[in-house]
């Protein structure tokens, strides 16, 4: 067994999974570095769970290979892969005590009785449930049950921790708490983690790397900042956060920015990391949070600022921020979100949305 330490912990090479005709995962190449927290993010049915289950051995890839520590594991049975799984519904054994639940994996690793006790108690302490060993799962709250599931998975010191939407059965406040708990625990133990979610906030706040998926295909892979700020395509930009898409044609370069004629006649200056040529059809992506919203009296004159005059047609207060829908003269609507300032704008007011060139990105229009 060659286990050179420079192998990624998990590696997918051209992995395809088909269920009859349906393609659940398409040509997946992905490396998961040792100790990293990687999140699979995407809408329902995009194949996240299937990908995770293939690592666990609960599904077989139709094509391609999966490696753990450089060793091909396609044919290694589930129980011989040293993995910790966390399920959405906790999946604690209802007929066993908390202690026996956590000790379960150790029992099948032939760990000595005395050591089992110490390790189980250590794990329960880690998840802040010391002294709960004698209870049955049914006597615990949802959050506590998920923490027991976490203890059960980490106590075996797995190579990879696999979590399939572990927080989605919890209510909002608890979810936040558990999210931080998982994050802390993962950092402390340094265990490689593959996390599945369709909640972008979870993905953005916890991950070292996010893999955005759609229809079984990888759309983009990168750090949270990369996928959020430098979305690779329309889908990623649209899926993460609130984006506006403005279609137009490139006029020409202006320093290290590009000037674009928009379909509604206006112009836009956008930062560009790549070279565009006049006549290129493009799509400018502007995040709703990047706009500044001003009354129509205080329009800035700066050359590298883009401004979009319009009238507020809808406004909703969302606690930390206010969401505005501004209708331009040509009836197209821009979505802007802004921190609550001194004076919130009212519906029907004429305003100007201002955004700096460096907050506008261009994508090729397909």
């Amino acid at each position: 067994m060659n286990q050179e330490p420079n192998h990624p912990m998990v590696q997918f090479k051209g992995v395809v999974k088909r269920f009859d005709k349906l393609v659940a995962v398409e040509k997946m190449d992905l490396d998961i570095a040792r100790g990293s927290f990687v999140t699979l993010l995407g809408p329902s049915g995009c194949g996240k769970t299937t990908l995770l289950r293939m690592v666990a051995g609960l599904e077989q890839p139709t094509e391609g290979d999966i490696f753990i520590k450089g060793r091909r594991i396609n044919d290694v049975p589930i129980h011989k892969r040293n993995l910790g799984m966390i399920f959405q519904n906790y999946a604690l054994f209802p007929h066993k005590t908390i202690f026996d639940n956590v000790a379960f994996g150790l029992k099948y690793r032939k760990v000595a009785k005395s050591e089992v006790k110490a390790r189980v108690e250590g794990a329960l302490e880690l998840v802040r449930l010391p002294g709960y060993g004698n209870r049955k799962p049914a006597q615990l709250s949802g959050g506590q049950q998920q923490r027991v599931a976490l203890a059960r998975a980490i106590v075996i010191q797995p190579d990879v921790l696999l979590m399939d939407e572990p927080l989605s059965a919890l209510d909002e406040n608890l979810r936040e708490e558990m999210r931080r708990e998982i994050d802390n625990l993962q950092q402390m133990l340094g265990v490689t983690t593959l996390f599945v979610t369709h909640d972008q906030r979870e993905a953005l706040s916890m991950s070292d790397k996010i893999v955005v998926m759609k229809d079984g295909r990888k759309q983009q892979e990168g750090s949270p900042e990369e996928v959020y700020n430098e979305s690779a395509n329309h889908f990623v930009a649209d899926f993460l956060g609130h984006s506006n898409f403005l279609n137009g044609t490139v006029i020409g370069a202006e320093g290290d920015a590009t000037r674009v004629r928009l379909e509604n006649g206006g112009e836009l200056l956008a930062a560009s990391s790549q070279q565009w040529f006049p006549g290129d059809k493009v799509e400018a992506v502007v995040r709703a949070q990047k706009f500044q919203i001003l009354s129509d009296l205080e329009v800035p004159a700066s050359r590298d600022m883009n401004s979009f005059p319009g009238r507020i047609i809808e406004r909703s207060y969302m606690g930390g921020e206010v969401s505005y829908f501004v209708e331009q003269r040509d009836k197209t609507v821009i979505h802007a979100m802004s921190m609550v300032r001194t004076r919130p704008f009212r519906r029907g007011e004429d305003v100007v949305l201002v955004v700096a060139a460096r907050h506008c990105r261009l994508l090729p229009k397909t």
Binding site: A56, A91, R152, I156
Partner: protein
């Protein structure tokens, strides 16, 4: 609040009436009848005396039939469990989309009269039945084997009747087990067989327990298989009751035996629930 308190009762009224008229009233009749005196001629005489019960306990003849009934019922339970768990597990694990068809196959025997199904064993096991016919023809034996009119034949008839109940009960409880529990067990290091022992088997016990109880109670009260497939030494308590009531028209004594059987079953079920209890198992699963 005021209004809603009578509503459940109003809705329950039809079924409660049915239970009362069809179950409780006849039961009371039987209990009352068991104290009556049998007249040599004419109508039975209303009385309150324990003569019928004394007659039952007078010598070992009647209690031994009762004991035999319990023993046969117990054997039936064990055999049904062994023969029922495996198909139930097979249905549960089968990946086919036609599970309902498989379950329907289990139900099909119910569409054929119980009597016919029981009688058909005579054509299979009898002296001139299928098996003996073939064996004699092929020349393996010269004289037909005696396969009927013994306890084995009775058990066969009972199992044929009761196996579907066991299979369905076990199947339902297997189907109720969360599949991710098995996956969790597997990912923690269990082989498939170990996962079965750790998860599937214990979590299917409520169904096993319910199935066993049902089979036991139904066996204790059945009289057709012993009557058709058994010999005089294989009589069960229900045969005795049948003979007293239908054969010799001794309603008071028949009633007394029924009451004894009923009491015994109640005690057994109560103890069973108490120690192996269905309730206990369910509680641990909540």
């Amino acid at each position: 609040m005021q209004k809603s308190s009578w509503r459940p009762w109003a809705l329950l009224a039809p079924s409660l009436t049915a239970v009362f008229l069809l179950l409780l009233v006849p039961l009371c009749f039987i209990v009352v009848y068991s104290f009556w005196l049998r007249a040599p001629t004419g109508a039975d005489i209303a009385a309150f005396q324990l003569g019928n019960y004394k007659k039952f306990a007078a010598d070992f003849f009647y209690p031994s039939i009762l004991l035999r009934t319990i023993r046969v019922a117990f054997e039936t339970v064990v055999l049904c469990l062994l023969m029922g768990y495996i198909p139930a597990y097979f249905f549960y694990r089968s990946k086919t989309r036609h599970k309902s068809v498989l379950l329907l196959l289990i139900m099909i025997p119910f569409w054929i009269s119980f009597i016919i199904r029981t009688l058909s064993w005579i054509n299979i096991l009898g002296d001139t039945g299928l098996i003996n016919h073939v064996l004699v023809r092929v020349g393996i034996i010269s004289e037909p084997l005696n396969m009927l009119y013994n306890e084995g034949a009775v058990l066969m008839g009972l199992i044929q009747y009761l196996l579907p109940f066991m299979i369905l009960n076990v199947y339902v409880s297997l189907e109720g087990i969360d599949k991710s529990l098995l996956e969790a067990a597997r990912s923690l290091g269990c082989t498939e067989w170990q996962a079965f022992r750790e998860v599937t088997l214990p979590l299917s016990l409520p169904g096993v327990s319910a199935g066993c109880l049902l089979v036991f109670v139904l066996t204790s009260g059945t009289y057709l298989p012993p009557m058709i497939l058994g010999g005089p030494r294989n009589e069960m308590i229900a045969n005795l009751i049948f003979k007293r009531v239908i054969g010799t028209l001794d309603w008071p004594f028949g009633s007394a035996i029924s009451v004894v059987l009923l009491t015994l079953l109640i005690i057994i079920i109560y103890t069973y629930n108490r120690y192996l209890g269905i309730n206990q198992i369910f509680k641990s699963l909540q």
